[in-house]
Amino acid sequence: MRIKPIAAAALVTATTLALAGCATNETPAAGNTSASGGSQTLTGVGASSQKAAQEKWVAEFQTKNPNITVNYSPDGSGAGRSAFIAGAAAFAGSDRPLKDEEMGAGKFAGCAADSNALNLPVYISPIAVIYNVEGVTDLALDPEVVAGIFAGKITKWNDPAIVKTNPGAKLPDATITAVHRADDSGTTNNFTDTLNKLAPSVWAAPASDTFPADFGGEAANGTSGVVQAVTGGTNTIGYADASAAGSLGKASIVVNGKPLQPTAEAAAAILDHSQTVAGREANDLAYSLDRTSEGVYPAVLVSYAIVCQTYKDSAVATLVKDYVGYMASADGQAAAASAAGSAPLSSALQAKVKTALDSVK
């Protein structure tokens, strides 16, 4: 039988690949195989909003601790909470803290029998209203107008309500395509909460992970899907994590007469103006956000790390304390700001998270 040269080449390639079952940037001890006894693995599951930041944190943390492998699966907040409750993840990333009825000692398989969970804010990111309208580079919108657009009540770009806050802009006589998230998401939850708090007359529906079905509009999957739909379409508007907006225009939201851009500073301020949820343990840092304060950009996503107060396995506790501690440190927050465009926690809050983590056993 003759073997054709191309097939022979393919076989040779396959064989070479077979000889190289390792990656050159990994030291042999660092591979998370069970063979190397000194290596440890920390598993986190949770919000995809934290993915970019987690990637940076994992990289920095693993560089400092070459024997530790951290796997953060960006499966989603709900999956993260389920995994944490089932004991499948040492910590969960979640776009909302656990609710009162979800808390309670003994409800978490990975924690000691008498241990409750702790909600620690680690990631803050502004949600931008992004738009793609030809000839429009600056856009300022009242919360009522944003609500009206996404509720399908304002349908033309040259609607008087939009013209009012943008006297100089050349707004076309075109239909608005409002793009919202097709999937359930913490981003939608925080965005609808913002509209509900700031424009209750137009947006009566309470905050929800699901975008209200009867408001119509275009649906797209995930942050990248929304950004892509807004970029690829014409006369579109949408909402997405500010860091993902790329070259798209970001509308200013007019709060108390002042147009605010979704900047890190304007977003991070929100936790300094908000109160922690009442009735929780002293070290729990679950916040109920106050979006109406002066100078605070209202549409902000706060994402949490959910950890045990006391772990069943003390080795896991040490790993979690080290890793989450790094996440909430000044270094970690700066790293996330550079890699994910998030808003760093204020130093006061960093200290609170550290105190909470010190109590973890």
Binding site: S77, G78, T177, G232
Partner: protein, 354 residues
């Protein structure tokens, strides 16, 4: 086999519709005589009697039967998984579903069920004629030198991951077809299919159907081509020798022979179209509308895409409800397959092995 061709249409006989049927009729008694042993055990060839000195037969037969039963077991496991995990939502109090789930089950899942069937149907309508065309082109029209690489390329395209189809659909296809949609809406808007407010991004159910059609095209083509190539060469040559044109030869000798294979290929394509998750998720602007309008933003979403989109954030009862939706999709597949089986069963199936 060849002897039958000459006498295909004797005077007085009912004219056979195709050459293939003609030869088959002629041969039937003979084949029966050859294959049926005197003991007339219909599903065993002559040497199939269990022979204690040669256990190979029993072992092999047992292995084959065992494999078949394994499949049934796997499917039963999948079905019971869906039932167990989905039942909390199926039997939950509607008020509880409204507060902790996505709302009352039947009315929640109905638009998605509709969207699933509607998108798959559109995709099949687009893909099947084209796929059969390509398969015929490769098997009977293209020059031999061209045909092999072409078949190869088509096989490769079956491997393009759905994520890539999704990327392509939303980045390239949707913007490209939007002007076409606007033209359709402007000129043919009186047809209900093309009515409504045209989507500003082109991410409509028609776009999703085109993407799905592109995805299932290689699968249908690949199997059809194999089947077309297996058509008995002698029949084809006999048809041509009798003066049939190439198309008549295909109609008489290839297509009737390949019909069960074509249907199997379509069922494979349909299965993928019904269950496809990622591409639809990325391309379709889904909502909970039941509408036949093809060009608007308010398209019915599919079940698979709904599960994929909401599963990451689902929690507690919502998870159960999504899995129950998976069960509905399972039932839809079952129903669609039953209908297809029923259609096929009305026509006799040809098999070289029985």
């Amino acid at each position: 086999m060849t002897t039958g061709v000459g006498g295909a249409g004797g005077p007085g006989a009912a004219p056979p519709r195709t050459l293939w049927e003609a030869t088959r009729k002629q041969n039937e008694p003979m084949t029966e005589k050859l294959t049926r042993p005197p003991t007339a055990d219909p599903d065993a060839g002559p040497p199939a009697q269990a022979d204690p000195r040669r256990p190979g037969e029993a072992i092999f037969r047992g292995l084959a039967t065992g494999a078949g039963i394994t499949i049934l077991v796997i499917l039963a496991l999948v079905a019971s998984f869906l039932l167990v995990q989905g039942s909390p939502a199926l039997f939950a109090d509607p008020a509880k579903l409204a507060s902790q789930g996505y709302g009352e089950f039947a009315s929640w899942v109905l638009p998605y069920a509709f969207g699933t069937v509607w998108a798959a149907l559109l995709a099949l309508l687009l893909a099947v004629p084209v796929a059969i065309g390509i398969a015929l082109f490769i098997s009977h029209y293209a020059p031999r030198r061209l045909a092999q690489p072409l078949g190869y390329v088509i096989d490769l395209l079956a491997a393009v991951p759905s994520v890539v189809f999704g990327l392509w659909g939303s980045l390239v296809l949707a913007p490209a077809v939007r002007p076409l949609y606007e033209a359709l809406n402007a000129h043919l808007g009186f047809i209900p299919l093309f009515a409504g407010q045209v989507s500003g991004t082109g991410r409509t159910i028609l776009t999703a159907a085109i993407v799905l059609a592109t995805m299932i095209l290689p699968i249908i083509t690949s199997l059809c081509r194999e089947v077309f190539l297996q058509a008995p060469r002698l029949h084809e040559e006999a048809a041509l020798a009798l003066g049939a044109t190439r198309w008549e030869m295909i109609k008489m000798a290839v297509l009737p022979f390949a019909r069960p294979g074509i249907i199997a290929a379509i069922m494979l394509g349909l299965g993928r179209a019904l269950g496809e998750t990622m591409a639809v998720t990325m391309v379709l602007s889904g909502s909970r509308n039941i509408t036949f309008e093809l060009l608007t933003s308010q398209n019915p979403n599919t079940i698979a895409a709904t599960i994929a989109q909401n599963f990451p954030e689902a929690f507690g009862l919502k998870t159960n409800q999504l899995i129950a939706a998976g069960l509905v999709l399972f039932v839809i597949t079952l129903a669609v397959n039953s209908i297809a089986r029923w259609i096929v069963a009305r026509r006799a199936e040809y098999s070289g092995a029985n």
